[in-house]
């Protein structure tokens, strides 16, 4: 009798809906260790097969694969791109949390929001949830490692570990806001892009730099939106534009939960520095490059309580979206309107000259 009942249960359990309910939903408002983030990435690709692709683009010092999610709708036309990376600095746990939230958000939004659908048709989003994987995993190891910042490559002489990846890019490398002492938290490495993690970004983005409209690198803490350059003697050619777009983003952030984010160059609002990924990206002619420093202002610092993940992600999402939308509209709507206007003018000229002939 029991066997018959058992047989009846089996097909019930195998019914698709039931099994989906059994799988635990990814909690976007908790911090996750690297294994869980990797599993989540695989799941995102599975759940959205035509839209999400995992791209492996490098290796960490400890030989782990660095991956991103490429997110976009299929299009015949040549697509432009948006870059977002999180977790260059290991202890800034809110940053990887934001990348996961951002991915979830755009995947939910495009189905019902025509604007997001258009953006995902015209552009691909390249999102790296954790860039400094070795460092991030190290910060999960135990109490004494939680505040680790750098990667995990050994120093030139025995005894010190880690290079500050955000001082290692080939952008005025080693000039200001760095240390040549390997035990320093702002040690810039043996040379520009000496670190495999920085190399991975450099080669991937560098080989496609004409495609990228926007390069966003996510950090914490301080509630800042930083524009290039970190070196006080250099000004970005589109500084005014960067400041205007940044201020628009800060306003969008403020509207969500009333948090103030300050906009400016690093040497103005924080400190001078060199070798940052943002500066390198701007030097590749990627026009809109920003560093996001998320919550808070120092009360909890790097150990931001999990109950602040949701509001932080919500406000940062609106800030990022402002920049991304600007980048998109400048390239697509604007160009299309200009093309239409050109055609109109042309045909009008033909029409007028035609009328004259009549």
């Amino acid at each position: 009798m029991m066997n018959v009942v058992g047989f009846l249960f089996v097909p019930l359990l195998l019914a698709p809906g039931v099994l989906t309910l059994e799988r635990a939903e990814h909690d976007y408002y908790k911090y996750h260790p690297m294994e869980k983030i990797s599993t989540w990435m695989t799941q995102m690709e599975k759940d959205h097969p035509d839209v999400v692709t995992i791209v492996d683009y490098g290796k960490t010092y400890e030989n782990r694969t660095i991956s991103l999610l490429r997110i976009g709708l299929k299009s015949e036309a040549k697509k432009k791109a948006i870059w977002m990376d999180c977790g260059i600095h290991a202890r800034e746990w809110i940053a990887p949390a934001f990348c996961q939230y951002f991915v979830r958000q755009i995947l939910q939004t495009y189905k019902t929001d025509a604007k997001m659908e258009a953006m995902m048709t015209n552009m691909d989003f390249y999102v790296t949830p954790v860039l400094n994987i070795d460092g991030y995993m190290y910060s999960w190891k135990d109490i004494s490692t939680r505040l680790w910042r750098k990667n995990r490559s050994p120093g030139p002489s025995g005894g010190c570990y880690g290079t500050d990846l955000n001082r290692n890019f080939d952008a005025n490398w080693g000039t200001v806001g760095v240390s040549s002492d390997c035990s320093s938290n702002i040690y810039c490495g043996r040379g520009p892009i000496s670190e495999p993690e920085a190399q991975a970004v450099t080669y991937f983005v560098g080989s496609r730099k004409e495609d990228f409209l926007c390069f966003l690198t996510i950090h914490s803490y301080g509630q800042l939106l930083l524009v290039p350059y970190g070196h006080p003697n250099f000004t970005a050619p589109n500084y005014e534009e960067l400041m205007n777009v940044g201020k628009g983003a800060a306003e969008a952030i403020w509207k969500v939960h009333g948090k103030n984010y300050t906009v400016g160059t690093s040497p103005d609002v924080l400190y001078a520095n060199s070798g940052s990924s943002r500066d390198w990206a701007r030097m590749q002619d990627i026009p809109l490059t920003f560093t996001f420093e998320l919550r808070d202002n120092g009360t909890y610092g790097f150990e931001l309580p999990e109950d602040q993940i949701q509001p932080t992600c919500e406000e940062a999402y609106h800030g990022a979206l402002h920049i991304i939308t600007y980048a998109h509209d400048k390239t697509f709507s604007g160009a299309a309107a200009a093309a239409a206007a050109t055609l109109w003018t042309m045909l009008l000229a033909v029409g007028v000259s035609g009328a004259n002939l009549l």
């Binding site: 120092g298 150990e303 035609g354």
Partner: protein
């Protein structure tokens, strides 16, 4: 007639054209770069106009300050630490909310003085208050602590705070003892709500160190109260031993300190002893991790 028809056709075509276009290879070079063709080659090259601006900026570090820029912000942070040493308690803790205006001037060769209008945020009651402050950073071979004066800070309503402080004081003077409590907050930003007042006390005590260690080239916050233990006393003060991890935003380092301090509602926090712990080097602790 024919021309009008042709124009209508053109308009229709134009509309269709813009709808069907999804991508056109855009101008990636910005207007600024076009205006200054030399910059298109090497966009890190500085124009003369920008150079003049930058030189002006250096001079601007004295005189009227941009309230959002780092010189005013760092000086204002010192005011936060000062307020916490004076008024901080298990139920009162200040954060810097905003800098409204700032002014800096050199004082002979001996140092620099900042005058600031700021808003401070009392974190626990979630109230904001404006105040004026002066911060003097002495210059010299030996690093001396900055001097702070605060004026026009209205006394924040006390009743609630006084009652809670009294309760906590009585509880831990007679009934309970805080055995070592670790990691306030933990890696996830959490702590046992009963321990929150001791996290606040750890921050207040740390403020004495952050105040005395501050210069124009530092920006301190408390990263974590690594542990805090209550010790016995012969007098009517509560006495604590704690180990704190500070974060200096400018160097990005995590200086570690041990502190011995007392607290009572009447006396506030008084620091008895401090000890800076040496920077822990990797080779002493961790081999390469897998």
């Amino acid at each position: 007639m024919e021309l009008r028809g042709a124009m209508v056709l053109v308009v229709l075509m134009g509309t269709t054209w813009s709808l069907s276009v999804t991508t056109i290879r855009p101008e990636t070079v910005s207007m600024d770069a076009v205006a200054r063709p030399d910059m298109a080659e090497e966009n890190t090259e500085q124009t003369e106009a920008a150079a003049a601006e930058e030189a002006e900026e250096d001079v601007m570090a004295t005189g009227e300050l941009n309230p959002n820029h780092y010189p005013a912000q760092r000086a204002a942070k010192v005011v936060q630490h000062y307020l916490n040493t004076r008024h901080g308690s298990p139920y009162r803790l200040f954060g810097l909310k905003q800098v409204h205006s700032g002014n800096a001037e050199d004082v002979a060769d001996s140092g620099r003085k900042y005058q600031l209008e700021i808003s401070v945020h009392e974190i626990i009651s979630n109230t904001t208050e404006k105040c004026s402050a002066e911060v003097y950073f002495p210059r010299g071979e030996k690093q001396l602590p900055p001097q702070v004066q605060v004026s026009s800070l209205v006394e924040l309503p006390k009743t609630d705070v006084e009652a809670k402080e009294g309760e906590l004081y009585q509880e831990y003077r007679t009934n309970k003892t805080l055995r070592t409590e670790k990691r306030l907050p933990d890696s996830y930003g959490h702590m046992d709500p009963e321990m929150t007042p001791f996290w606040h006390l750890g921050i207040v005590a740390s403020s004495f160190i952050m105040l005395s260690e501050s210069t124009e080239n530092t920006l301190y916050n408390v990263a974590q109260v690594a542990n805090i233990t209550q010790l016995t006393t012969e007098n009517d003060q509560l006495k604590f031993d704690c180990h704190v991890l500070l974060h200096d935003m400018v160097s990005q380092e995590i200086p570690q300190w041990k502190l011995l301090f007392t607290w009572s509602p009447a006396e506030g926090v008084k620091v008895l002893q401090t000890e800076k712990l040496p920077h822990v080097h990797e080779c002493e602790k961790h081999p390469k991790t897998n």
